[in-house]
Symmetry: C2
Amino acid sequence: MPGPTLRDVAKRANVSIRTVSNVVNGYAPVSDELRTRVQAVLDELDYRPNLIARNLKQGRTGMIALVVPELDVPYFAELAREVITAARAHGYVVMIDQTDGAVERERELLGRDSRATLFDGLLLSPLAVTAEELRGRANRIPIVLLGEHIFNGSFHHVAIDNVAAAREATAHLLGLGRRRVAAIGDQPYATGETAQLRTIGYRQAHAHAGLPVDEELIVATPHFHRRLGAQAMERLLALPEPPDAVFCYNDLLALGAMRALTRAGRRVPGDVAVVGLDDIEEGQYSTPSLTTVAPDKGEIARAAVETLMESINGRAANPAEIVVPHRLIVRESTTGG
Amino acid sequence: MPGPTLRDVAKRANVSIRTVSNVVNGYAPVSDELRTRVQAVLDELDYRPNLIARNLKQGRTGMIALVVPELDVPYFAELAREVITAARAHGYVVMIDQTDGAVERERELLGRDSRATLFDGLLLSPLAVTAEELRGRANRIPIVLLGEHIFNGSFHHVAIDNVAAAREATAHLLGLGRRRVAAIGDQPYATGETAQLRTIGYRQAHAHAGLPVDEELIVATPHFHRRLGAQAMERLLALPEPPDAVFCYNDLLALGAMRALTRAGRRVPGDVAVVGLDDIEEGQYSTPSLTTVAPDKGEIARAAVETLMESINGRAANPAEIVVPHRLIVRESTTGG
DNA sequence: CATGATGTCTGCATCGTTGCAGAGCTGCCA
DNA sequence: TGGCAGCTCTGCAACGATGCAGACATCATG
């Protein structure tokens, strides 16, 4: 089953292994006559270079790893798509793994038995692992973090300005005249840094508008899934004074919330306006379509891969905090008829 | 930057390289005293085995590749998730690539410069490449095909019974008393084999019910995306006698169709009932929720990985046609209030 | 005490490729 | 004709790990 090696080709063509290698790679000068002869044998045997061997010799694999919590969460799927595309532009392929948000799975990555040595670099979208741990058990390969804010500047990190994004989303709702704007998705504990940034933005928008925040309207959720969005919305609807708008910390929560609203007979945006964050494709096709804050996913992927490549190639700058643009996309869930 | 090697550890611990290797792998008997001493040095230097070197020696990489058309299509994202999980159970990791449905990208995979030699096996969900081509340019690594029906038995192939799935979906609509049941998603050309199977099932259901098929109600779409589902639905609504139900060949088409229906002021299922296929999570949360045929994605992934592992381990049976179960999940889009 | 079995440990070869240094040939010029 | 450059081509060593055969010491056995 193993294919022919350079040696096999060399023997058959009566040349040295090195010459065959030169023909394959087009490196060194080879006379036309010889090149043709060797090429013929290469074709005849259908030679394929053994990339593992090449990698061993060259000390790199041409592969990076992308680790996300859940690949079937649309945001990560869309991001993964962009990462694969961006990596390809650098001649790299992408191994994808998921942690299911489990700390131990994230730790495994850094541990003794991780497969990390197979990759030239690692893009990590951490949920649970802390900066301390990352630093302590830091692997030997370059790492770029995605999304979660790690507060100290130990690693390259690519993300949108979460505070601004949340502020703009909330301001949009307030600007529509809504006065009881809820927030779904806070995570007031150590690993919920991104959520907390969004809560800050939510509060800032209120402050700028000179409006108080009703703490009752901030609902925490341990995850960012549809089901929890629906549950949170139900709880909000049960309040004596339910909200007339809600900013959800991601689109899935928002879609779940809209589902709960529809089921409860409320109209969106008539009774309650809804804004999400992530701009997953699904939001364009929901009924009503979803107003959302769109991070530039292509840019996130490009910046992350670019930064990783620089680290891999040793042109590593100091750990950089890279902020990627976002924009509010207004659709029916806030302004629909 | 490169980490310590076995040699480094060996030198420092004053033992042979081979002994260090034995300690690392727990292979051969090593005295407790020596094991402790070596382990101490391993820890001290934070040794990590170079997996590329190990792979070269052992002739396998512990990686498989999964190639899908588009990772951000929910069905493929969900499938990818299951594949990653299934592969992990075998100690394997998964490299994911996407072809965007481009023939040339699928061909690249099989070509001279593909990275295929890095992987022990390949799971391919082909769109455009034909069985002929696959066989002709067949790579040296084991391949298992997903989804698309390749008519001759040259490769292992895992899929649901597409004819039966489509038949059941259509029968469900007919059973509800609908009499003008449309079909969205036919692909009457060489690379649309799966779609054609679904059309066969659609016809069978009509035949079983003793009803004629109105050819006008079968709408072809080059892709299975939301936008095309919406467009197709609009075309159907423009007919003199529009349909009262529609079977979409996947959930995205169905969601797009529902979107078009809502926009046109038709009620689902009141005016038009909708059935999809794939059971993507989004369908549970759409308004109305989507009736669909659910392939057992976990089982698809497990069967595919299992089969691939058998090929890799040389216990390869003849190319097998593996049929995975599916079931109709009835939700609001056909029976809702 | 010789023998062989057992338990540890080691060195060499090897996986398939590429980096490096240099061998051999040709042609040109002084 | 000798010397030198330039072009091809080659062989050896190496990447870092593991498979294998065997060295050596210890111990039990007849």
